[in-house]
């Protein structure tokens, strides 16, 4: 059986040791069952155990191993090695502070996510069992609820790079629409008020990098458009 090798160029930065970041080259031998980029990165840990990255479920559900792969954000665990041009350039998600190597500080990202109140708000008395939805109403949430908060979209959005403290970002706005669209939620007006701001929502210039990189093939731009439609409907 032939051994496959894969060449990497990996962003390295340890703030305790390095004055500035640098790219380091590696060559890794792959086994027959190594198909995804994460498999190769795990093998790379054997070559150099100081390389740091996040990972967890290894099947595109947890969103931990989001990184910039050959200039494009994606999840290492669902990216085929054979589809990538070598040497594979791996960098941390752009626009967020680097903690170490491929690990970024996602505080700002989650702060924006929390700012849209990502939960159903309903002040009416709770029913005995559960708040029911019709199948049609439930269908509205398809393409919204699947977001795994990997931050691939927000960190590929130039508007989020320039104003991460003020612009909610595509992931947060997708989640915002997920709750605006939810028929069980009664805070639609407050949610729209919260987003009616030149920074929070209207920094989106429909660049659509978010749609391009989403590993779950979701469409934050469409959700943002629907929020704007509702605002127009409310005003006109």
């Amino acid at each position: 059986m032939t051994t496959r090798t894969v060449k990497f160029s990996i962003y390295r930065f340890d703030p305790e040791k390095d004055a500035k970041p640098y790219m380091k080259d590696y060559t890794v031998d792959l086994g027959p069952s190594d198909h995804k980029l994460l498999d190769a990165l795990v093998k790379l840990k054997v070559v150099d155990d100081s390389v740091s990255f996040r990972r967890s479920c290894r099947e595109g559900v947890c969103g931990s191993d989001a990184m910039n792969i050959n200039g494009r954000n994606g999840l290492a665990c669902v990216t085929n090695i054979d589809d990538l041009k070598q040497p594979i350039q791996i960098r941390p998600l752009p626009g967020l502070p680097v903690i170490r190597d491929l690990i970024v500080d996602m505080t700002q990202f989650f702060k924006q996510y929390h700012s849209i109140k990502p939960y159903v708000v309903n002040d009416t008395p709770a029913p005995d069992r559960e708040r029911l939805q019709s199948q049609e109403d439930r269908k509205e949430l398809d393409g919204l609820y699947e977001c795994i908060l990997c931050a691939c979209c927000s960190t590929s959005c130039p508007s989020f790079w320039w104003n991460p403290d003020k612009f909610v970002g595509p992931a947060g706005l997708l989640a915002a629409y997920r709750f605006i669209a939810d028929t069980r939620d009664t805070a639609t007006n407050e949610r729209l008020d919260n987003l009616e701001d030149p920074y929070r929502l209207f920094r989106c210039h429909t660049i659509m990098n978010c749609v391009d990189v989403c590993p779950k093939e979701l469409n934050p731009t469409k959700a943002i458009g629907k929020i704007k439609d509702l605002m127009v409907k409310r005003m006109a």
């Binding site: 701001d197 030149p198 929070r200 929502l201």
Partner: protein
């Protein structure tokens, strides 16, 4: 002053709508001018002068210039908001932009409605 992050200006939709409406006005005017160019391809100075001597052409031109400048205001302010972080500098740029756009509008009135 405590360095608090403040958002919630409660505007943004109007500007976003204005940008779209003014774009449509400019498109309609541009189509009109292109149609004139095609229909009267041999038009000389006299024909153009005659066209722009009609009051309704002047009114439409002024409306389009106003739409263009309003559109430019929203777009330019977007650039300042995206890239200029210090509030003082950003406000200064906003004011300079407004002055330039207002001056351009006054000049356009002079050109379109002047003798």
């Amino acid at each position: 002053m405590v360095n608090r992050q403040v958002v919630g200006a409660h505007y943004g939709l109007r500007d976003w709508l204005v940008q779209r409406v003014t774009a449509v006005i400019m498109l309609v005017y541009a189509v009109g001018i292109v149609a004139f160019l095609l229909l009267a391809s041999d038009a000389g100075y006299a024909a153009w002068q005659q066209l722009f001597s009609c009051t309704w052409v002047k009114v439409l031109t002024t409306v389009t210039v106003a739409a263009l400048l309003w559109h430019a205001w929203v777009g330019l302010r977007d650039i300042w908001m995206d890239y200029v972080q210090p509030v003082g500098l950003r406000l200064t740029l906003h004011v300079l932009t407004i002055l330039w756009l207002v001056a351009s509008f006054i000049y356009s009135i002079h050109v379109v409605w002047g003798a």
